[in-house]
Subunit: 192 residues, 2 copies
């Protein structure tokens, strides 16, 4: 419990035992069965979730009820509807579990209190959001400038573990493609 969370924390900002215990007192654990929701569109997002074990996805649903995957969250990743969390507006994303999962949750009040009282937590938060920003920028750049085939190659190089664990049609959705198109791209690639 909390192992991976503090492993990540310490790799970015070194904590003493006492600091670790203090932070732990602000966190809660949650298990999610496959297909269970962590968040549904329209609800306010109350937590930021760190994935200790398992896999989740955040996705939006458009007017034609097509799902568009915004983000995957595997072990070591953080997942949330940050906009809703920060503003208190209703969430525009759904988040659910692709596998049975274990999460470390932090509530808004806990998050704010830690930010204000513990400089190391603010540093951790800053580094986390910076990493997320850079990852998203890479994704955006590749969408705008690369061919679909290159983008898939980039994806499997960057996230080989996701390719293993997540159904292909969800990767298609993450890439903004139909499952048929992704299947044909894989065929093209493998015939080389």
């Amino acid at each position: 419990m909390y192992t991976l969370y503090f492993q990540h924390f310490n790799s970015k900002v070194r904590l003493t035992e006492e600091e670790q215990e203090l932070i732990k007192s602000y966190l809660t654990l949650k298990k999610l069965r496959k297909k269970q929701y962590l968040l549904q569109e329209g609800d306010v997002c109350k937590v930021i979730a760190f994935v200790e074990k398992g896999a989740l996805r955040a996705y939006s649903v458009d007017e034609n009820s097509n799902e568009h995957i915004i983000q995957f969250g595997l072990e070591g990743w953080t997942i949330s509807d940050l906009y809703s969390f920060l503003t208190g507006e209703p969430a525009t994303y759904n988040i659910d579990a692709l596998e049975d999962s274990e999460l470390v949750l932090i509530s808004k009040s806990a998050h704010e209190e830690l930010l204000q009282t513990m400089p190391k937590y603010e540093t951790f938060t800053r580094l986390n959001i910076t990493g997320a920003y850079l990852a998203m920028q890479r994704r955006l750049t590749s969408i705008i400038s690369a061919s679909v085939e290159e983008r898939y190659q980039d994806f499997i190089n960057l996230y080989p573990h996701i390719v293993q664990r997540v159904p292909q049609h969800m990767i298609a959705s993450y890439m903004g493609l139909t499952p048929e198109t992704l299947s044909r791209i894989r065929k093209r690639i493998s015939s080389k």
Copy 2:
């Protein structure tokens, strides 16, 4: 000089006069003529730039020498190749001025020192990157899930001032479209 910068800073984290002077001692000013580069691909990005006046763009160039605009930076925005700035790797983006511009620059060493010595600067940085993350997530979501026409509508609603000041083919580039396509989309929209 620095007016807009500190206006922004104070709107996020309130500073005393003395703190303001202290920070000012870490900043430098730079003027850029239209078409001048702030950063060229391959160089290491040495600064984060805050736009006091004018307009810039960050863009990448692909193997067919097509330009892809990653970001615009108008008054009040921050622009940089953050990945290069943080890692010291060569930049993958170019940044240049679309108009004569005035920038407030912070170097890496200044940035790091302020982060370590001044909690308010870290908070400011965290809030800035969080805002940038949310803006980019909105853009990404719209690319993945909305039609090109909706995306353009969203863009002009969100950034009407950019539409005024930036040539249309650059907006097309920012949206990942050809200028011809954007022209036709505008025609379709206006004929309603």
